[in-house]
Symmetry: C2
Subunit: 126 residues, 2 copies
DNA sequence: GACAGATGACTACATTTGTAATATATCATC
DNA sequence: GATGATATATTACAAATGTAGTCATCTGTC
């Protein structure tokens, strides 16, 4: 019984990330959280919030004279879904070539490489 | 002096992939190449081609009574650009966490893991 | 309890995308 | 050179997206 994930557009991701990182927030909190990163008018951010509410990605709690917003979908699920759609589009769904290309193209430090190899080792072990 | 890559939409990727894989094609060739994979009307595919031409992603050669279309942008560049935008959106630009999540989430065979480790080894070596 | 300021609701509007249909130009054939 | 088949060009149209503005309402303050 898995829920259908609403499709989250580019700009909307920014808003969701605020909620995932900081938990329930008022509209104004979100605006403040984003103010340093984007050049949107507060109105624009309110609009994005409304759309996400309508899509079911955000749920609202009535606090009397205003709302508090919180994520209604899990970050990990959204990431997985976006990733799958990205791999489908760009690599025709072929995960391993996608990974290989990612790895080859990435600019990684030795530490980062070790970390990734660790992950691979564990996958092999398990 | 790097060229600006046009933004290639989801459906348009399918068309570009045909041209990247098969080289210059007539509109009809593209339609045929896609016929097994998608349920679009030929008209729809022609529209996608036109849009890609207008965007500068495809160039046309006049063959007298029809055109032959070929990719005007390199596949590798488009993949890189899409990847970067994906990582920016979903992982806020943090490549290593993106890779780690990819790897952890992927369902890989031992052979595939070996292949990826090979790549990592070489990166470390180089 | 009238008013300024905060908040949310509704409305706006151009662009892009998905998905095509109609109209026009051209070629190949009789 | 008229006709049917092809190919391209032009047009359509709704939904999603980016980016806001205006209107109505609630709230706390004097």
């Amino acid at each position: 019984m898995k829920k259908e994930l609403p499709k989250i557009a580019d700009s909307e991701w920014r808003v969701m990330q605020v909620l995932w990182e900081r938990g329930p927030q008022t509209a104004n909190d979100v605006v403040n959280a984003l103010s340093s990163g984007v050049k949107w008018k507060p109105r624009t951010i309110k609009t994005l919030i409304s759309r996400l509410v309508k899509k079911g990605a955000i749920k609202v709690t009535d606090e009397g004279y205003r709302y508090r917003y919180s994520a209604a979908v899990k970050e990990s699920a959204c990431i997985r879904s976006e990733t799958k759609s990205f791999v489908r589009r760009v690599y025709k769904g072929a995960m391993t070539p996608a990974l290989a290309a990612f790895l080859e193209d990435a600019d990684l430090s030795v530490e980062e490489i070790d970390e990734l190899q660790e992950i691979l080792d564990q996958k092999k072990g398990g």
